[in-house]
């Protein structure tokens, strides 16, 4: 299953696009924060819903799926807590502070 390392040097970074006929699953997340301050990483799901009777002209939606906070100089990983997370559209990471010393490894799969 694929994984990717994302550097937290911008406030938002794209991780993957879920294929049209699939649902994305997060298999694990590792945050290595070697920056000088704590960081909160938010796992986001960005998509545009289908036009319904109630909302005929839908706009893009951003749903925060999970937040992870890691102190300065710490490294943490999550596996069991991420397996139930579903990504319907584009998976992004949002960083509370930005630094090239923040590395996030995201493992994912599609079902």
């Amino acid at each position: 299953m694929p994984s990717i390392v994302i550097t937290g040097d911008e406030s938002t970074k794209e991780v993957f696009d879920t294929p049209y006929d699939k649902i994305g699953k997060i298999t694990f997340i590792e945050v290595d924060n070697q920056s000088a301050s704590a960081v909160t990483v938010t796992l986001q799901d960005v998509f545009t819903p289908f036009a319904t009777d109630e909302t005929p002209s839908p706009s893009e939606v951003t749903r925060n799926r999970k937040q992870f906070t890691v102190g300065a100089g710490e490294e943490k990983s999550w596996e069991d807590k991420t397996k139930s997370i579903e990504i319907l559209g584009t998976c992004k990471l949002a960083f509370s502070t930005t630094s090239s010393d923040i590395k996030v490894t995201v493992g994912y799969d599609f079902e």
Partner: protein, 201 residues
């Protein structure tokens, strides 16, 4: 034409026979002979997928017929008189998504006989009458089978998100495209394809 099975049904194979049952001139297009046998001359399988992300508590009705607006039409009707589409419909993803079958327009053929319970999305109880769900026809073991013909009365899927959050529902279609030809002699074994009047009885 529409059936929900307890397990995945067998699809039609070449040299098998079918007989259309129902009201002549009403249930089927004029070119179909009711109560007469047809042979399946050859088949071809096409897979097709559609997906939808729905907000909680919202609905949309989509036609299975053909149209250039392929967002709102599934385009699952043949265009040739000698074609029969046998379609297995499997669902994946949103466990709270409900799919209601309407045939014809705004008519729910799968209802109980009681006059007190009808499909009505406004009530938590009445929206539980005959919805197709991921559990009832999963993508890897589809149990919903639909037959379509050129010029057949239009069928619809009405989608409703019965959950508390956005849900993504994926339709996986296996279209068994059958070329059929009328034959004179009634075979010993054949499969019945029932028309709308039988379904609404």
């Amino acid at each position: 034409m529409i059936k929900l099975f307890p397990k995945t049904p067998e699809i039609l194979q070449p040299n098998q026979y079918i007989v259309f049952k129902g009201k002549p001139g009403e249930d089927f297009p004029d070119f179909i002979q009711v109560d007469k046998p047809y042979i399946v001359e050859y088949t071809k399988q096409i897979t097709f997928a559609r997906s939808f992300i729905f907000p909680s508590g919202e609905k949309k009705t989509l036609s299975l017929a053909n149209d250039s607006d392929y967002e709102n039409y599934f385009n699952l009707f043949p265009t040739m008189k000698d074609s029969l589409y046998e379609i297995l419909v499997g669902l994946k993803g949103g466990k709270n998504m409900l799919v209601f079958i309407q045939w014809p327009t705004e008519r729910y053929p799968f209802e109980l006989e009681s006059p007190h319970i009808h499909v009505d999305l406004d009530s938590t109880i009445t929206r539980m009458v005959s919805p197709i769900t991921v559990d009832r026809s999963p993508a890897d073991e589809p149990r919903l089978r639909i037959h379509t013909l050129k010029d057949l009365t239009e069928m619809y899927f009405q989608l409703y998100n019965n959950g508390p959050d956005y849900e993504k529902l994926v339709f996986k279609f296996l279209v068994n495209k059958c070329k059929i030809r009328a034959v004179e002699k009634m075979p010993e074994r054949y499969r019945v394809i029932e028309g709308l009047s039988i379904l609404l009885r």
